[in-house]
């Protein structure tokens, strides 16, 4: 009696197992798909962003192609910055980009090697315009704001 009930139960459960296994795989493949799609979509991140000018593979440290500037952003080598770049010529807290009344300002945070805007050193803070080139350490960023 037990055997008959069990084999019936088991035959019903096999459908459930196959369903669960395939749902699991669907979940994994979906996550991988989103992961790959996310790499492409990083290019379009808001209207204002920093674009890397250097060739990415010429740099020995990790740096992204694009950094979006949604809110106030700090750049530096230590972990509590928004944009972390492990360039030896960048200070722990190097620079800050602030948004105020639809205008973007860049401020140098007393960095050792300085921050340059269109190859001129910033003394305190400067207004950013579309197409400005920001040099931090050995990295050149293009400031882009699309309106």
């Amino acid at each position: 009696m037990f055997d008959i009930i069990f084999s019936g139960l088991s035959s019903i459960f096999r459908y459930l197992f196959i369903l669960l296994i395939y749902l699991f795989m669907f979940g994994i493949i979906r996550l991988i798909y989103l992961d790959i799609k996310g790499i492409k979509n990083k290019e379009i991140r808001g209207n204002t962003y920093l674009k890397l000018i250097n060739r990415k593979d010429s740099l020995p440290f990790k740096v992204d192609e694009f950094y979006s500037l949604v809110s106030n952003v700090t750049i530096g080598r230590s972990k509590n910055n928004k944009i972390i770049i492990k360039d030896p010529y960048i200070s722990k807290k190097h620079a800050k980009i602030i948004k105020e009344r639809n205008q973007y300002f860049i401020e140098d945070l007393n960095s050792a090697n300085g921050t340059f805007l269109n190859s001129e050193e910033i003394m305190d803070a400067a207004i950013l315009k579309n197409g400005d080139i920001i040099t931090i350490g050995s990295i050149n960023f293009l400031f882009v704001t699309e309106q």
Binding site: F13, I21, Y22, M25
Partner: protein, 415 residues
């Protein structure tokens, strides 16, 4: 709608339910409702779930590897538990040890940075293990590749697999220091020769395949690669005529039906089992997987096909495909040359091992005794597969080069 969203974001939820349901069913089948069995069901399900959550907190690298492997692992344990509850229980213990090895390897490999510098150590350790197997090895199931210590057996070849990948990686990282392709190939062929003496043909084939692919990717001398392939084909033909056990394997592959009660017994029973299962399988407990000799190790795939259907069998193959895809992607994205080659080597090892055994049990290629990674019963195979996965996990992260590290320490004082 909301629940659906949450579910798809976390595939481990499906895994959780699958484990809970199927293990309960297996317990029902074995009619063992004691505290131990219930403990295994609850404990295993929670261990798998928590270890996956823990990885999200610890590692910044790939989070899919462990999930995929947990799925394979669960299918293996369900099947082994159903075939033999005692072996199933041992397998659960090995799994827990395996997970611990995974995290331990992850931390050790990440902390220590001089891995590319000890090439000679890897070669020495491999040959030491080979010699130990030759001297103290005991013959189990036709192959002399086991070492017995106080009743516990383990297969040194599982450790040598990882040492071999490390050796190849450290050779190609330091290629400008001591590049000599002849010495390299002599060392590799010595590895394969030792495996041949132990009659472990599957591993010999695996080592050769991994070597030839890494050689193909990193060697500049194209003609030498071709010579290697031709020499291997010649050696395989020579081996066929020189060794009786190779001939038996090939004959059992070409026509197992002529000697159905003898040499062809295992492979024909495997084919019957796969055919019996059909698309949806017989259901757990309704088939006869124990008709196949060695069903819990080499022939676990046939047992899965019989009781859970060829759809699950295809799912197993697809899981391995996703795993290999992730491995290759990790290898492509890794900037550090050493970890790049290691990731490629480990992915190749897992991939070819799967191909050799799945091809064997479905009569696509001659059958050679080798375990299906993460699914088969066996302590050393499982633990070392998890160690390999731990190394792959490290390789999936961004690894700071030594120069950067030194600079970090040197400039701690500024501003």
């Amino acid at each position: 709608m909301a629940t659906r969203k949450v579910n798809f974001k976390r595939p481990q939820n499906f895994l959780f339910f699958l484990n809970l349901l199927s293990l309960s069913l297996v317990i029902l089948y074995n009619k063992s409702f004691d505290r131990l069995s219930v403990g295994v069901v609850v404990g295993l399900t929670l261990t798998i779930y928590i270890s996956n959550l823990l990885l999200l907190k610890i590692s910044s690298g790939d989070h899919y590897l462990l999930q995929i492997v947990s799925m394979m692992m669960s299918l293996g344990i369900i099947m082994i538990y159903r075939i033999n509850p005692e072996l199933g229980f041992t397998q659960v213990i090995w799994y827990v040890i395996g997970i611990m090895t995974f995290y331990l390897t992850y931390f050790i490999i990440k902390k220590i940075t001089f891995w590319p510098k000890c090439m000679k150590l890897y070669i020495g350790a491999s040959f030491l293990l080979f010699l130990l197997t030759l001297i103290f090895g005991s013959t189990i199931k036709g192959a002399t590749n086991w070492i017995q210590i106080r009743g516990h057996t383990f297969q040194p070849v599982e450790v040598i697999k990882i040492l071999f990948v490390f050796f190849l990686a450290s050779y190609y990282v330091n290629r400008n220091k001591f590049e000599n392709k002849y010495i390299l190939s002599i060392i590799v062929y010595l590895h394969i020769g030792f495996l041949f003496i132990q009659k472990d043909l599957g591993s010999a084939m695996l080592f050769y395949m991994v070597f030839i692919v890494i050689f193909y990717v990193y060697e500049n001398d194209r003609k030498f690669i071709l010579i290697n392939i031709i020499a291997a084909i010649l050696m395989a033909i020579l081996g066929y005529f020189a060794f009786g056990h190779v001939q038996i394997r090939v004959e059992a592959w070409l026509n197992p039906w002529s000697d159905i009660s003898g040499n062809g017994y295992q492979i024909t029973q495997s084919l019957f089992a796969i055919a019996e299962g059909g698309f949806l399988g017989k259901g757990i407990g309704n088939g006869y997987p124990s008709f196949i000799p060695e069903v819990q190790t080499d022939f676990i795939f046939s047992a899965i096909c019989e009781e859970l259907g060829i759809l699950t069998g295809i799912a197993v193959i697809m899981l391995f495909l996703i795993l290999i895809y992730r491995g290759i992607k990790i290898s492509l994205e890794q900037k550090n040359q050493f970890y790049r080659i290691v990731a490629l080597g480990i992915t190749l090892t897992l991939g070819f091992q799967t191909f050799i055994i799945l091809g064997g049990v479905t009569k696509l290629i001659p059958l050679t005794g080798i375990t299906l990674p993460f699914l088969s019963y066996g302590g050393s195979s499982l633990v070392m597969s998890f160690a390999a996965l731990g190394i792959l996990q490290v390789a999936s992260e961004y690894i700071y080069s030594e120069q950067e590290e030194n600079y970090e320490q040197g400039t701690k004082e500024d501003n």
